[in-house]
Symmetry: C2
Subunit: 229 residues, 2 copies
């Protein structure tokens, strides 16, 4: 699968690209140690990066593009665990296997880091150990926020999602969504129709504008925050 294919094709991506410069603030702490150790690997749109229950030999850092992690239930329902933007680290496990699957949402470049290397390093370097812990704690924080989202109304979920994406984007008022309505729906625990209708509703109430389906302008952040909980 992707593993082998992608592994082979990473000849020229040695020096840090400037496009990547706007990395994530909180989780990028592992940066210093990590940048050195992995090869940037390209994944095309919808390519699998790893599968649920596969051995977690590597962890990953998004260089460009966007990644989703997800689980699928017996009957096909899919739950997206998280979206990862440039600078974000994902796939770090403490157990032997990955607990989610991961896919590139758009063509993406991902730094691949061998876990054993990092673990070995952590045994000697307290700072690395602390950064591994911090990364896991960051994931925990996100998961807990996600739980709080899932008990809310559709409007609150969508508003919360937009605010979250805006906070993580470069521009605070304009969000460029790399993911489809289906991805959003599966993240929020709603249907695609409800997500669409809710966006229309928010647009009609002048809280947002939707110039194109993948671009959302936050017109009234206060209103969104108010309906966020």
């Amino acid at each position: 699968m992707l593993t082998t294919q992608t592994m082979t094709s990473h000849t020229a991506s040695r020096q840090p690209e400037s496009r990547v410069a706007r990395s994530a603030p909180s989780v990028s702490t592992l940066g210093s140690s990590i940048e050195l150790m992995g090869a940037p690997m390209p994944f095309s749109r919808n390519a699998e990066i790893y599968g649920e229950n596969e051995p977690a030999e590597y962890l990953y850092k998004v260089i460009s593009g966007t990644v989703r992690t997800y689980k699928v239930l017996n009957d096909g329902r899919r739950q997206i665990g998280a979206f990862y933007l440039p600078g974000d680290i994902f796939g770090l496990e403490i157990g032997a296997d990955h607990t989610f699957s991961a896919e590139a949402i758009v063509d993406s470049k991902v730094l691949v880091i061998k876990r054993s290397t990092l673990i070995a390093l952590a045994a000697r370097d307290t700072e690395v150990a602390r950064q591994l812990w911090t990364t896991t704690a960051g994931e925990l924080q996100r998961a807990q926020d996600h739980i709080m989202l899932l008990i809310k109304t559709a409007q609150e979920r969508v508003a919360g999602f937009l605010l979250e994406m805006a906070k993580r984007s470069a521009s605070a008022t304009e969000v460029d969504l790399p993911m489809s309505r289906q991805d959003i729906a599966d993240y929020l625990g709603l249907t695609i129709e409800t997500v669409s209708r809710t966006l229309t509703q928010l647009e009609n109430s002048a809280a947002i504008a939707v110039p194109t389906s993948r671009r959302i302008v936050l017109r009234n952040r206060a209103a969104l925050s108010r309906m966020n909980a």
Copy 2:
């Protein structure tokens, strides 16, 4: 009820009690270092152990009883983050403050450990550092499972909850619930009425028996597992 009764009989709780011996398997790793350092502290039913946003000076280990962590939204909706049984560690934060509130569900004894002590220890002892990380990773795992619960139907949530509690209990087929229907509802993102009706439904379908409202007998685990996802 069981609450007071269990509490009153702890005159000699210096040496490990055999009743407590059946502690959690995964998260109890911090045990060895921790047991030495904290004082067991009693909390009575519904007593607050810490509040959301309070400085996280301590972390905690349940000795006896049960603890719930929760958040309350603006409009009063309460979400329970987790239930902690004897052996479980809770309240471990990496940030400065607690992100949930914690309360004893029944009269409980809780070991209180100063975080700074443990952090200092972790700086020298790799094993302690790893245990802190593992504890956080365990919480992450739980939170992710919780997310998967929250996208399911009422019946699936309740079945999943019962199976989870059974797995954590001493007896695999009989669950003694320390928490109220309201607590269960707020954990599962349902109303108390829906929880009650669903239990009745499961009882009618012979999947469970409910001899008393706080005691559930799993009569047909396979059926429960089947409806779990």
